[in-house]
Symmetry: C2
Subunit: 249 residues, 2 copies
DNA sequence: CGACAACTTGAAGAACCTCAACCCTTGTGG
DNA sequence: CCACAAGGGTTGAGGTTCTTCAAGTTGTCG
């Protein structure tokens, strides 16, 4: 556990990726320290498990440290729609703090490490440090911004555009936390997961991936993405990163 | 202006529809009064106007009092995707308080009346009344919950299902604030707007509306919705209102 | 090696789009 | 008071995209 490493100002062994690349710089040393100390536990979750079911009261929120998780909703015919992908550094169900439950299922895609925060602790933090509270609020709104972009993606883009947009967004998000160099990154998903994200069938997803491969834009296999032409990928997906609220440089 | 009406505890001439039907009951008299006093101005906006453009810093947030507004994003081919519809009682760009800007355009559909709140005032409120701050946070997350449902709608439902879901959701939301009785409600939109919501063409929207009409489920014309069979409408749209966080009864 | 899951490909069909024409209502000016 | 223009709504015909179904192929792990 991190506590064994000893504490000093700004030591963020657990929460160091939170808001990284976004507005982390606006967090004071006091705030980072308070956040780090607010961690109740760090636990490991098995792959492909439902972790937080919808519409059930919860009293804890989590921060993803390692692995991939997703938010999803199932249709009456059993088809699954992913409504969010979560990468390290992302709050997972922080919105359950004001909402008291979540309106979707939250599950793991791979084995994951997460940090847990009791709502009672967050409540104290929010009351005592209003600015930190606002940064937590900000973090939950990043999800909403991505949701809006996903609506746009599904409503206005072709299958090729949707897949390109998803890879563009995911590449950018992983780059925020140092998990992509813009050319290659791990993304341990299956084609069926991609289909669940993009609102298309697995079969058609396969054909879209073939086109991206043949046009030397991107290859995806065995959980690894190799980007051939990031500019073109972004253009096909009509991707611009403004909605991710990147840090000014 | 409301101030002319005189003040007493719980007088909410302007903000009385905020969170109505959701968790408004959790607001104390002090909180309601503080919110009402935080109103900086009430203004009228013309129909079909861009009110808040994307990616520009803002220092004010608004609450919709009367009329219809929408959030939208435009694709490179000029096609518009609505990502949110706003009805009376809804905060419009409250998320711009933590975000400092919005990542989408916000405009009017009809002439509207809105109440304006300066971010500096919200900041004071949030610091002095943490519980009220959390209720504001909650309100912004209702948008996120609707976004998730819209993703599901676009990703997993047919054109008929999407239109049915939109009408189901809108009917429910208007009922929260007393603007629908479950059988008939005003919805001053055009078929093209519906198309922009559902990610389909206006022509196909027309055909879907014909089917709903012929099956006696719903008629829509001249800005008026007549619901023939609400249960069936909800079933076709796979609509359940849990994600709208209705008040327990 | 065999079993299983994930990926791949082909063929046929459904859902939705595009384009074009027409209708209906409303408002305006002669 | 009528003619006409304009915008929104309606319909048909044909084309495209994506789905469905079915049959392999490849890779992995006991």
């Amino acid at each position: 556990m991190a506590k064994a490493l000893g504490w000093g100002r700004g030591v963020t062994v657990i929460t160091g990726q939170f808001l990284l690349g976004r507005r982390r710089a606006e967090l004071s040393e006091d705030e980072k320290e308070a956040l780090e100390k607010a961690v109740d536990a760090v636990v490991t979750l098995p792959a492909r498990q439902l972790i937080v079911p919808r519409l059930k009261p919860v009293d804890t929120s989590m921060l993803l440290l390692e692995g991939l998780m997703c938010s999803y909703m199932d249709a009456s015919d059993g088809e699954r729609q992913l409504v969010g992908l979560h990468v390290p550094g992302d709050p997972l169900d922080l919105h359950s703090f004001p909402l008291k439950m979540i309106d979707h299922d939250l599950g793991t895609l791979t084995e994951c490490r997460v940090a847990q925060f009791k709502h009672s602790t967050i409540e104290r933090l929010d009351a005592e440090m209003p600015h930190l509270g606002r940064m937590l609020w900000f973090a939950t709104l990043l999800d909403a911004a991505m949701h809006r972009e996903w609506i746009f993606r599904l409503g206005r883009l072709s299958a090729l555009g949707r897949v390109a947009h998803f890879f563009s967004e995911t590449e950018r998000r992983l780059r925020f936390v140092g998990l992509s160099d813009g050319e290659r990154f791990d993304l341990p998903l299956q084609q069926a997961d991609l289909a669940s994200v993009c609102g298309i069938t697995p079969v058609h997803t396969n054909r879209v991936l073939r086109e991206l491969r043949e046009r030397r834009i991107l290859t995806f296999g065995r959980g690894v993405v190799q980007v051939g032409d990031l500019k073109l990928l972004n253009r096909i997906g009509e991707f611009e990163d403004g909605y991710l609220y990147p840090e000014k440089r």
